[in-house]
Symmetry: C2
Subunit: 114 residues, 2 copies
């Protein structure tokens, strides 16, 4: 079997660097396809294809205005990803906490010394 389709879920969709770039670009503001292509130095068909994937997994929203189609990132669609990755943050934050504890215990705080 081959790898799962990129259109399966957001984890697969963001495996492509350009798609990540598109999502970042469209997070704050809407842009038409042409502008995306220009901003990221990509061919128009390429952008359209990536947008198709992102659309299929629900990561962008589109709005037609005349001849142009404005796309924008549906930031909420990144919540599942965020939730999954955040589970791991617990572990490394434990380490950070330990570092912080050590830092707070050792340093020049004469008052609390002893």
């Amino acid at each position: 079997m081959a790898r799962a389709a990129t259109t399966t879920d957001s984890f697969n969709a963001i495996a492509e660097p350009r798609r990540r770039a598109i999502l970042t670009l469209l997070a704050g503001r809407e842009s038409p396809v042409g502008e995306i292509a220009e901003a990221l130095h990509l061919a128009q068909p390429s952008v359209s294809k990536h947008l198709r994937v992102l659309r299929q997994v629900g990561m962008v929203r589109e709005r037609r205005q005349g001849k142009q189609i404005f796309y924008q990132t549906r930031t909420e669609s990144l919540q599942p990803l965020h939730a999954w990755v955040s589970e791991f943050a617990r572990f490394w934050s434990h380490q950070l906490e330990r570092v912080r504890e050590r830092a707070e215990a050792a340093p020049p705080s004469p008052v609390l010394k002893r």
Copy 2:
């Protein structure tokens, strides 16, 4: 061209559901390959292959003990992912804030009615 190699970066590595499962399983505790295979109902060669990918992108650490090799997730390796996704959290939290504001402004607060 085909998709970028899964061994390129963590974004590609976690595109595979089983690799995500492995990372989750090994986040808290170490386990030898056989145990991973059993826990996730996967064939041993399959697990070894996924571990190889995870190793190549630095997402797991290994420790040999006799015939067994214990693997564990290097949770810090998920920090770049976390950082990237978190950028988007800003946006949706804005929305949540707006919802909250509206909720606080509209409801049964006769005092502020005008």
